[in-house]
């Protein structure tokens, strides 16, 4: 299994390179912009695939974690602390280079958090929020869990929309690029397009490596057992509550990383990123990719998100994802990549007749 995992990641990276060369050959380098954005949304889907597909816990609130990551990074790298320069905490942080001076919108100088510091805060904040939400919410199952996470997402959306300091309905703008490594930063316009593309998909590859090694270990076995029957899993000595919580937190942090990077890449973020339809979209992608298929989810996310960002679905954008979700549930509940045409017709017929529970 070990060999095949690295082989798969290598294959995945080869596909990433092929797509870049293809875009170059087709003289459509601007495709890379949407592909880069799609990569960051794919991080959310990959984490959600672990939570939904393996551990069997639904979340209709993952857009909120994405937004928390993005807003934390966006806010901390744009907030101006010059006025509080004399305060002891601000002074210490400035000396530690956690706070760095940079040019603000009007050419003056502003003192804000370094993107790395902001990123660290974004991750820790998301971790804490996911933990606090997860402890009570993960005691719920099925529809109740879906509703509770939906409620959480709605609350985050409302808070973002109502917060003047977070730009209310406009969101945050002028977020500086994220200097990831010397010479490579996330964001920074057209010239950095190719580099950004590779950074984004490299991050996805890294996430895939971690997630697939997780699902192929005893942790993955435990998660699938929890998915099957929680009591039976507990009877195996699996700490069900802890595993569910850790998976929830991990998937939330992955979403926040995606949110943080995309905010730097786009130089801004708006409250729509926390919207319920976004959360539904992630769930739809995981369902299409196949519950319990990490690779299927990533492929589906890359394609659907790219098409959506390119505007191919037009005003029907949200409707497409809704329709896709319905179609998958009817015809191929195991996901499109495991599509079996004959079985699908039978399942769909049974379901339409209302006797498809056993399927």
């Amino acid at each position: 299994m070990l060999g095949s995992r690295y082989a798969r990641v290598a294959l995945f990276l080869a596909a990433v390179v092929a797509v870049q060369l293809l875009a170059h050959a087709a003289e459509k380098p601007f495709f890379l912009t949407q592909l880069t954005m799609a990569a960051y949304y794919t991080l959310v889907a990959a984490g959600l695939s672990l939570l939904m597909g393996y551990a069997g816990q639904i979340s209709l609130g993952h857009a909120a974690f994405f937004a928390i990551g993005g807003y934390a990074s966006g806010y901390l790298t744009t907030v101006d602390l010059t006025a509080r320069r004399e305060g002891p905490l601000v002074a210490v942080l400035a000396r530690l280079h956690v706070l760095v001076p940079h040019a603000d919108l009007y050419g003056g100088e502003a003192l804000s958090f370094h993107p790395w510091a902001a990123f660290a805060v974004a991750v820790v904040l998301t971790l804490a929020v996911a933990w606090l939400i997860g402890v009570p919410v993960l005691k719920l199952k099925g529809h109740y869990l879906a509703m509770a996470t939906l409620g959480f997402g709605t609350i985050v959306y409302s808070i973002l929309l109502a917060s003047e300091s977070l730009g209310a309905a406009d969101g945050l703008g002028s977020v500086p690029p994220f200097p990831l490594l010397p010479g490579i930063s996330v964001g920074g316009g057209r010239a950095a397009r190719v580099a950004n593309y590779y950074v984004a998909w490299g991050l996805v590859a890294l996430a895939l490596l971690v997630l697939s090694s997780l699902v192929e270990s005893r942790v993955g076995r435990a998660l699938r057992a929890i998915h099957g029957a929680e009591d039976a899993a507990a009877s195996m000595g699996v700490d069900v509550a802890r595993y569910k919580l850790k998976t929830f937190v991990l998937s939330a942090v992955l979403a926040a990383v995606g949110g943080s990077f995309l905010t730097h890449f786009n130089a801004g973020i708006g409250p729509a990123e926390a919207g319920v339809m976004k959360s539904v979209r992630y769930v739809a992608i995981v369902a299409v990719g196949g519950m319990g298929s990490l690779w299927g989810t990533v492929a589906t996310s890359a394609v659907l998100t790219f098409l959506s960002l390119r505007g191919y679905f037009g005003t029907l954008d949200d409707a497409v994802f809704g329709a896709v979700l319905i179609a998958v549930m009817l015809f191929s509940p195991d996901g499109v990549l495991r599509f079996d045409p004959r079985g699908a017709l039978r399942t769909a017929r049974d379901r339409l007749r209302g006797s498809g529970v056993a399927g």
Partner: protein, 247 residues
């Protein structure tokens, strides 16, 4: 090994177990017989920590386990083979068995897992043949063997079996009870819940009779097998025939 003192348990407004006291000594096979709905499954689920005891106390291997969570109790060495087997159908037979060894990894005894796997395959050769098959495709008897093997992978001191004969053909039931006896001989203590009282008492050292949540009778297996009330209620003796002999 295991001691219950005045244990009450139930679900919601329903009280199922009323002041149940019993004990299991190391090396014994203790069976609990009783009719449908007497509370046998609830009793095992309470010991396993899947149902909370509302009163009384449970002691396992010298430790108070009344308030412990299931996974802690398993880690202490008390494993349940649940009613209806509950194998993980979409997972391979081998994966099911490795899941059983979950606590072994947590104990840092990972190196023993491979040997335990061989031991289980030795006990149940059919599982070795079907190692890569999905557990959901096994027959009922094979699933029961898998459920028992899975429990053994945790190296339990006490294994609790809930209705292992349920839904199985008589010949298969005989095999299963043979295996239970063998597990006991190899040093694992057994608590066996059965509706099939005769088979259970034939391999047991002692037994308890559970009626509507209370222990109404206890004794050695021979005593219970020869007890007339037990014979009438649980062993299917013909009452009319007895009366004819008596008069």
């Amino acid at each position: 090994m295991l001691r219950l003192r005045n244990v009450d348990a139930g679900y919601g407004a329903l009280t199922v177990l009323r002041r149940v006291s019993l004990h299991v000594n190391p090396g014994e096979i203790v069976t609990i017989v009783g009719a449908n709905g007497a509370g046998k499954t609830t009793l095992l689920r309470t010991v396993a920590g899947l149902v909370r005891a509302r009163g009384g106390e449970l002691v396992f291997a010298g430790a108070a386990v009344t308030r412990l969570r299931t996974e802690r109790i398993v880690a202490l060495g008390c494993s349940l083979v649940p009613e209806g087997r509950q194998v993980f159908a979409p997972m391979e037979v081998r994966e099911n068995l490795l899941l059983g060894a979950h606590v072994q990894y947590a104990r840092g005894r990972k190196d023993e897992v491979a040997r335990d796997l061989e031991r289980v395959y030795g006990l149940f050769p059919v599982l070795a043949q079907r190692a890569r098959q999905l557990a959901g495709t096994l027959s009922g008897g094979e699933q029961q063997m898998l459920a028992i093997g899975r429990a053994l992978m945790a190296r339990p001191k006490l294994v609790m079996l809930d209705e292992p004969s349920m839904g199985l053909a008589p010949l298969v039931v005989k095999d299963i009870f043979g295996i239970v006896k063998r597990i006991s001989e190899e040093g694992t203590t057994v608590l066996l819940v059965e509706q099939n009282a005769r088979s259970a008492l034939q391999i047991a050292t002692r037994g308890y009779v559970l009626e509507t949540g209370r222990i109404v009778l206890q004794g050695t297996a021979e005593e219970l097998l020869s007890n007339r009330d037990v014979q009438r209620a649980y062993l299917g003796s013909d009452l009319d025939a007895e009366n004819r002999v008596a008069t």
